[in-house]
Symmetry: C2
Subunit: 356 residues, 2 copies
C-alpha cells in the first residue's frame, strides 16, 4: 500500500472470508440443513465461487437484477427473496432460460399472473412476517396460507415449496443468548407451520441466528448472507468476534482539524449512512488496527459524521498522525454495495456488481 497514490477502497481479508464461508457450510451440514446463502452482501462472482467450492448449488438474492448477475456466472437454482410484484416478470422470463427459480408469493391472484406470464414452473415460498413489521404474512393467517396452497394445487406453473422467515428482529440482540431468545418466536412459528403443513420446507434466514443458534437443526434450509464479511454491527449483536470481520474500508486522512478530529475521504457514498448508537453517539464506522493480524478496535475512535464525501473521525489523537485509517463498516452489505471491486491484502482486485 502506497499512501501517496491511494483513494478510498475496500479491503477484503480473503482468509477470513473463506473461513466464514466454510464455518457456515459446516454448521449447515451439522444441522442437516440445505444451505442456500444470500448473495446480496458480496455481490461478486468470485466470492460466489468460493461458496460454490463448499458444495453450494442453490443461492438466494434480493432482486431479479441480482439474480441475472449470478445466473450469468452459471448459478441455476436461485431464490428471489423479495415479495413478487409484476415488474419482475420480464426478468423472470429471461432467468427461466437458464435457472430454476423460487419466488415469494403472498396472494392467490399472483399465481394466476405467473400462470399467464411464465412458460416454465417456479417454486414459491410463503414468507412469514417475523413480527418486526417488514414483508410477509402472519403465521396465524392460515386463511391466506390455505388459499395460496390450494391455488397452487391447480396451477400450471406454481409449486408451493415452504415457509420462509427472515427475522430482522435478531439485530436488536446484544449477545449470543439474546439472539437465541429473540429468534425463538420465529423458530416456533416455523415449527408450528411445519406441524400443520408437513410437506412444507422450513427456511430461516438471518446471519445472527444462523451464526449462533443451534435450534436451526430443526428447520430444512438456512439462507444467511452478511456472515461472509460480518461487520461492526454483527460484533455488537454477538454474531461474531471482531477477528471474524473480513471487510474494511481504507480511507485517506485529508485534514487534521481542531479538537480531536480529522477529516477523511470517506463519506456517505463510500460507507452508507447506516450507524449504531454507541456510548450515546452515532457511530458510522469503527476505526480499527489490523496491522498485527487481529482486529483491534481503537477505543474512542470512530466515524462520528458523514456527508457526501467527507467523514469526520472523532478520537483521532488515539491514532497518531496516520495517513490513512482502517474502518470496520457498521453494515457491510450497504458499504460493499457502494464499490465496484474489493482489493485483497496482496493487492489483487476482486470485481463485483454495482447496483443501478
Amino acid at each position: 500500500l502506497n499512501p501517496k497514490t491511494e483513494k478510498p477502497f475496500l479491503l477484503i481479508d480473503e482468509d477470513r472470508c473463506k473461513k466464514n464461508i466454510l464455518r457456515m457450510a459446516e454448521r449447515a451440514r451439522s444441522f442437516g440443513c440445505e444451505y442456500r446463502p444470500h448473495f446480496k452482501t458480496h455481490q461478486s462472482h468470485e466470492i460466489g465461487q468460493w461458496v460454490r467450492n463448499e458444495g453450494v448449488t442453490g443461492i438466494t438474492v434480493s432482486s431479479t437484477s441480482m439474480a441475472l448477475y449470478f445466473a450469468a456466472d452459471g448459478w441455476d437454482d436461485i431464490t428471489i427473496a423479495f415479495p413478487f410484484y409484476d415488474g419482475m416478470l420480464p426478468d423472470l422470463v429471461q432467468l427461466q432460460g437458464n435457472a430454476e427459480l423460487r419466488l415469494f408469493l403472498h396472494s392467490p391472484d399472483q399465481i394466476a399472473i405467473l400462470d399467464e406470464n411464465l412458460d416454465k414452473p417456479v417454486r414459491f415460498y410463503i414468507e412469514i412476517d417475523a413480527g418486526y413489521g417488514r414483508s410477509g404474512i402472519k403465521h396465524s393467517d392460515t386463511d391466506t396460507i390455505d388459499r395460496l396452497i390450494s391455488a397452487a394445487e391447480s396451477s400450471a406453473n406454481c409449486r408451493f415449496h415452504g415457509f420462509y422467515i427472515h427475522d430482522g428482529g435478531t439485530y436488536a440482540a446484544r449477545g449470543r443468548k439474546e439472539i437465541v431468545t429473540l429468534v425463538s418466536g420465529s423458530l416456533q412459528a416455523l415449527l408450528d407451520l411445519g406441524a400443520k403443513y408437513p410437506k412444507a420446507r422450513l427456511s430461516l434466514g438471518d446471519t445472527p441466528s444462523a451464526s449462533v443458534c443451534d435450534g436451526l437443526k430443526d428447520v430444512h434450509e438456512m439462507t444467511p448472507g452478511n456472515f461472509v464479511f460480518y461487520d461492526w454491527m454483527q460484533t455488537r449483536i454477538g454474531s461474531c468476534e471482531p477477528d471474524d470481520v473480513a471487510l474494511f474500508a481504507v480511507l485517506p486522512v485529508a485534514q487534521k482539524i481542531s479538537g480531536d478530529k480529522a477529516i477523511v475521504h470517506g463519506g456517505a457514498v463510500h460507507m452508507s449512512k447506516d450507524y449504531i448508537m454507541q456510548n450515546g453517539a452515532k457511530n458510522f464506522g469503527q476505526i480499527v488496527d489490523i496491522s498485527t493480524g487481529t482486529t483491534e478496535p481503537v477505543n474512542g475512535c470512530y466515524l462520528s459524521a458523514l456527508s457526501q464525501e467527507h467523514g469526520t473521525v472523532s478520537g483521532y489523537s488515539h491514532l497518531g498522525m496516520n495517513e490513512r485509517i482502517v474502518v470496520c463498516p457498521i453494515h457491510s452489505c450497504l458499504t460493499a454495495n457502494l464499490f465496484d471491486h474489493y482489493r485483497t491484502k496482496d493487492g489483487r482486485i476482486i470485481k463485483k456488481r454495482i447496483l443501478s
Copy 2:
C-alpha cells in the same frame, strides 16, 4: 409507464431542473457573482450541458474521480472542493493535461508536495471552517492563512486564489429567514477575510443560502449543487417549494401488509439511509402525488423504514391500492448517487456517473 414492467427508477422533471438551473444562473448574474456550480448532485454529462447552456464555464466537484468524469466531457476549469491529500496526485497530473484546477490547501507543506509533483500551476482556496465541525481552517487562524499565502508567493505551482466556505449549518434552518440568519456568521467571516486580504476571491457554497440569501451579492463566487434537483429536506429548510423539486424515485408496491403499511421495492440501495425527523418519526422519503403537474405531499404517507431492498410505507391507506408510489427523496444527492441513469417524463434515458 407500464407498471407491469417497471422496477425502481429515478424520474427527472426536465422542465423543473432547467428552471432551477436558469434561476440560479440569474441570481448569480444579478449578484455579479462568478457562478461555479457543484456537479456532485447530478453527476451527469447531459445535465452538465444544460448548465453550460446558461454560460457556465467553471464547475465544482468533490473528488478527483468526478473531475475526470467531467473533464472527459470538455470541462476545463474545475474546483476540487475537498481537502487536498497525497492520494489525489496521480489524478491531478492526469487532469492537468486538459483542465485548469483549483484545489483546497490547508498546510504549507502541501505546497511543497504540489511543487514537486505537478508540472503545471494550480490555484488554491483556503477553506474556512463554517463552525459546524467539518473541514477547513478557523477564520481566526490568520497564522496558518499567512503561512499558506507566504508559501504560495515563492511556489512554482501554487497560486493563492481565495477563501471558500461551505456552510452546512444552514441545513438546520426551517424557513428563509433562518437560512439568512444562520449563514450570516459565515458571510461576515468571509467579508472580514476579504477586508484583511483584499486580493482574495470570496466563495460561498451551500444551496440554502444561494437560493434565498441576497447577501451573496457581497461575495465573488457561488457554488451551490443540490439546487438542480432540490429534495424534501430542502423544502423543509426553506430553500425551495415542493413544486421546485425535480427528482423523484418511482417505486413498485410489492405487498400490502397488516395495519396501514405496504412494502415497496425501494430500500437503502435506492434511497440511501438519510432521513429527517418529522412529527417525531424518521422520514426516509416523502410520498407525493405529481399526477397533476404539481408536487402534492400525501399527508401521513412516507417511507418509515428501509432495509437493503425493502422500503416500508406508512400511511399507505391514503394512497389507495396503487401499483407504484412516487417518492420525493430526503437527500437527492445521495439518492441520485445510487443510480446510473435518470428517466425523463417522456421515457428518455439520461446517463450519469455511478460511483466506485
